[in-house]
């Protein structure tokens, strides 16, 4: 499992475009808010709390093609699956690496962005906690959607249609500062479902 995590992280370090890809996407969506809605500070504050979730959802959706597809196409997935009988290890290591590569940079850049939008420290911390919990849940969902749609080529529209309904509860509870316990519950539920379904999908395609 540690080997798998190390391998995935090294692969993404070698092509460092991966990091900048989602971070720039996330930042650019948020930067566009003032251009669309004006620069009133109250309004910007309110909009930031909501749009940050839309930006997170979209930047996870655009990475869904990059989780299992490369391994599936060059045959690495088969080799890993033949070596380890319990495929759940692979799934958990993919969760960790996917979160590290695509979500951690967003959380790091979040405080800087929130000061650009006139948020105070307390609100920043609240948004940070919510995004931290919610991003895990979204990563679990993105993983199983990626595993299920391995055989469907070039269908980012279909993947979006599948993922949007699953992201709706996260966006609703995430944009409310006080409801982080429910968000935690949703993330745990999605973990339980996702680890089972991802392993199921990978076994189907690996056979």
């Amino acid at each position: 499992m540690l080997n798998l995590i190390k391998r995935d992280l090294l692969l993404s370090f070698y092509s460092s475009a991966n990091f900048f890809f989602t971070v720039s996407f996330f930042v650019l969506i948020l930067i566009l808010i003032p251009f669309a809605f004006g620069t009133q500070s109250d309004q910007l504050k309110l909009l930031f709390k909501g749009v940050v979730w839309i930006a997170l959802a979209l930047s996870i959706i655009i990475t869904v093609d990059r989780i299992y597809n490369a391994d599936y196409e060059d045959g690495n997935l088969d080799i890993i699956m033949q070596k380890n009988k319990t495929i759940e290890y692979l799934v958990i290591s993919k969760y960790i690496t996917h979160w590290f590569i695509y979500c951690l940079p967003l959380l790091v850049i979040l405080p800087i962005l929130s000061f650009l939008f006139y948020l105070d420290y307390l609100e920043t911390i609240q948004i940070f906690i919510n995004l931290f919990i919610g991003s895990f849940g979204m990563v679990f969902i993105a993983n199983f959607v990626s595993a299920l749609t391995l055989g469907a080529k070039r269908t980012i529209f279909l993947k979006t249609i599948i993922m949007i309904p699953l992201f709706v509860p996260f966006i609703i509870f995430g944009s409310d500062a006080g409801s982080w316990p429910i968000l935690l519950g949703l993330s745990m539920l999605s973990f339980v479902i996702s680890i089972y379904v991802t392993a199921y999908g990978l076994r189907l395609y690996g056979e």
Binding site: L148, T149, G151, I161, P169, F173, V197
Partner: protein
Amino acid sequence: MYIKINNNHIELIKSANPYLIFATIFVFIIGLYYSLFQSPPDYIQGDSMRIMYIHVPSAWFALMTYSILAGSCVLWFITRNPLFNVVARSIAQVGMVFTLMSLITGSIWGKPTWGVWWVWDARLTSMLILFFLYIAYIFLWQAISNKELASKISAALAIIGFINIPIIKFSVDWWNTLHQPASISKLSAPSIDISMLIPLFIMTIACFLFLVTVSLIRFRLVLIENKMLRTSN
């Protein structure tokens, strides 16, 4: 529990087809007569109430079809009987049409009653999500070229969607209390008059007959498709 479809069953379905079509048309005509001419207008909503006679059955059958779809996917995973997958695949598109119709007729009803075409209410939002789930089920099956794999994958997706629907309903309820007070009085019907129940009942039967007829036609279609693709499910 293992039911195998043979040629006798298909012949039976084939011979029942004209009667079913005739019965559907007949009941729809009776239902139209009752719902448009024979029932009195509602004393609050007036004649726009008549849209309910097609909106309510299609919403019921949209939900019922998804329940059957998810249930047969679960049964397929448990029993490994390909019949259940054929049932799921033949019923899905009818459910999508009913969902779309309930959304369209609902918003046409909402315009004169509420003054707006759409309200971000829990029921409406979950119907919209249900429509997305139907689209995902149908188009994922078409997108994967290996059809045996496609059936398994889309069945898994249908079950996940079935778990997702109550969560959506709960969270949108929460969201409405959080962001906006309920400004629009919801359609609460403590007592419906018998003269309104009769057309609703007839239209429900008509929609059910339509569901059965088209599902059986699609059942034959899916079986022939399977034979041509040389798969068992």
